[in-house]
Amino acid sequence: MNVALFVTCLNDALFPRSGQAAVTLLRRLGVDVDFPSAQSCCGQMHWNTGYRSETLRLARRFVDVFADYEAIVIPSASCGGMPAEAYATAAEAAGDMGLVRAVRELVPRVHELTTYLTDVLGAEDVGAYFPHRVTYHPTCHSLRAAPVGHRPYRLLCAVAGIDLAELPAQQECCGFGGTFSVKNAAVSGAMCADKARHVVETGASVLAAVDNSCLMNIGGRLDRDGHPVHTMHLVEILARTWEDGPVPELPLAAGAVAR
């Protein structure tokens, strides 16, 4: 199948391991995945800060780069939601009806990663092994922009060896919000502090989510406070198998067995 990975600009520059894990996992599931290198950014930062003309240029770019692929897989719910959420609106406002049509034609082929796994590939148990205590933060965009519902939980529950701990007040925003985190740094920091506290309360050694932006926020706080909780995109957990064994620097989950 002619499948493209839109890795997102954040993952490209700051979290390449998530992109690599996505490639590993998709290949394991029989997907021939391509990375068109002309890709850059979905434009979310511009869109959410009010800069629509720049968003529009990046939307055109996205459509050009990905138009010929059967599926575009995105390891991020917030970036994954952008084409459906923003591109048509931005194009319509600019009177670019050609782009509106192109976006509408493309959007059904754009998939957030976990949705692609469960709904397109029909996978739930992806053959992963991760014998560590994990808590999962459902990011706001995974709840509301590209609603993935229970898919990440279903995927996580099927991971062998995992010890899944429920995150208290999980549906509350971590305070990232893109430029909100610097424009209203005090409020963002206060929200993040509460989220980080809840993460620590779970006793998990790994915090997982489907958005590295939120993980960067929460992880930045955990790191500042000296908490040894690792943040990992969900796909990095799903990509690991029995052959990989446990992650050496992480404590084993209680009752975990190595094969």
Binding site: S53, M191, G219
Partner: protein, 478 residues
């Protein structure tokens, strides 16, 4: 003069101060958490909840699309029922009308209830300038007024105060404005309520003029509807000789049958009650029963401005239930005052710029007072898409007609955008990031980004980006 939000600092500054006030945060967290819990439980009782929300949104849109027709119909009905209707374009005109109406009665002490709109237009200070004292009788509004405080929530204006603080205000202030607080008053809710009852009853029995707001205005009969918990509103609405209701243009609903939809939604969503304890409806004047003079002041004050905004007009559907602020993680950490308006929280973040225009730094800062988490969208009884309106308003500031601009941010985002648009430039930038990564301070970012590192570290920038890895390993195959 009582305190006002005039000259209030922009949201980031006011909010930063509020996040440091641990007493305030604990009060707001406890209160919003309690209301959220009650609401969530009652909403699940209604299998038709989503249908009710659909109906409410559609009804409000119908009213907003034909506002002229419904308001004229209401005027006709109110007049036929013996009332008088006044139209006010803005705050100054509304204040002048109300002041003149009170002055004509010769009264110097009046009571007020249930009106955020009179707070919006600054009526109390206008009356005071004319030598008229207006005392609030809604309990939470009375607490705010006694404490020379400001409202912080649309349903519970004193939400930011706890029992102990309220007791202190009662003990200190009640005597200066009428009947003093009873000796030995504690912070027990029953005792506080009794103290308020005794203090306020004296006002109700003396006042000849009452000013009220309204939750709804039923156009087909010209009926004003006030929904409340305490019965203080009903005292005002029934005991005074002259009643002046100050009502925003957007409060109209077409018929009594439509009202039914809103009454099913409002109390559940606002306070987590199946029905509001007091729903008072009154139409014009009934000889020998209730106020014998009734004035309805219909106020625009920016509402037609908001109506002209294709995306923003949905904010005028708002029925002031406060659910958006109860669920908002930003509001929970700042309280309402940070928004610098009687309308705080997500609705304040959109309604204030829509009513006033985002032309001063305080108003223009409000659309950014959100992480865009979208929790408000899900609880709104009239399905306001807050995040759509916030984004539209941000666009107005960033690239539209708003007078407030953010030149540094625009330059930065333009530059980033230009790089992202060109494959070669973006490739080079991502590669360069890996090289400068190790040099970057992880605990202290410079310039406008330093807010991040006040409480958070920056992640390490990996030496090899994804695209470099892909190229080097031929897509991870070698």
């Amino acid at each position: 003069m009582s305190r006002t939000f005039v000259g209030w600092p922009a949201f980031p500054r006011a909010a930063a101060a509020a996040t440091q006030d641990m007493q305030l945060r604990s009060n707001v967290t406890r209160a919003t958490g309690t209301i959220r819990g009650k609401r969530a439980k009652l909403v699940t009782e209604r299998p038709d909840w989503e249908d009710l929300r659909d109906s409410a949104a559609a009804l409000k849109d119908e009213v907003l699309a034909h506002l002229d027709r419904y308001l004229l119909q209401a005027e006709e009905q109110v007049t036929a029922a013996g009332g008088t209707v006044h139209w006010a374009r803005d705050a100054a005109e509304a204040n002048r009308i109300v002041t003149e109406l009170v002055r004509a009665t010769g009264e110097r002490e009046i009571v007020k209830v249930k009106s955020m709109l009179t707070e919006e237009i600054g009526l109390d200070n206008a009356l005071e300038a004319a030598g008229i004292s207006a005392r609030e009788t809604d309990l939470a509004a009375a607490i705010v007024q006694l404490g020379d405080d400001l409202p912080s929530h649309v349903v519970v204006p004193a939400l930011h105060r706890n029992r102990g603080e309220i007791r202190d205000v009662f003990v200190r202030e009640m005597g200066r404005h009428g009947r003093p607080a009873p000796q030995g008053l504690t912070d027990e809710p029953a005792q506080l309520a009794e103290a308020a009852r005794l203090h306020l009853r004296e006002k109700f029995l003396k006042a000849k003029v009452a000013v009220s707001g309204a939750n709804f205005l039923v156009a087909e009969t010209g009926t004003v509807v006030v929904v409340e918990s305490e019965g203080n509103g009903r005292m005002c609405l029934t005991l005074a000789d002259t009643l002046i209701s100050v009502v925003g243009l957007e409060k109209a609903v077409p018929t009594w049958r439509d009202l039914e939809v809103f009454l099913q939604l409002l109390a559940r969503n606002a306070t987590g009650e199946r029905m509001a304890p007091y729903t008072t409806t009154f139409t014009g004047v009934t000889p020998g029963d209730g106020p014998q003079r009734f004035h309805l002041v219909l106020v625009d004050n920016g509402r037609t401005r908001a109506l002209a905004d294709r995306v923003g007009r949905q904010a005028l559907r708002c029925i002031r239930c406060g659910a958006c602020m109860n669920i908002c993680p930003v509001y929970e950490r700042t309280g309402g005052h940070a928004y610098g308006s009687v309308y705080p929280g997500p609705i304040g973040a959109i309604l204030n710029p829509l009513l006033k225009g985002p032309d001063d730094p305080q108003t223009a800062s409000l659309p950014y007072a959100s992480s865009l988490c979208g929790a408000c969208n899900e609880v709104c009884p009239v399905r306001i898409r807050f995040t759509d309106v916030l984004l539209k308003l941000r666009h107005e500031v960033a690239e539209g007609d708003a007078k407030v601009k953010h030149p540094v941010e625009k330059a930065a985002l333009d530059a980033v955008g230009a790089v992202m648009e060109h494959p070669a430039a973006w490739n080079a930038a991502v590669r360069a990031a890996g090289r400068v990564g190790p040099l970057m301070p992880r605990k202290r970012l410079p310039g406008p980004l330093r807010g991040w590192t006040d409480t958070r570290n920056v992640p390490e920038i990996p030496k090899e980006s994804f695209r470099t890895w892909w190229k080097r390993t031929d897509g991870g195959t070698k």
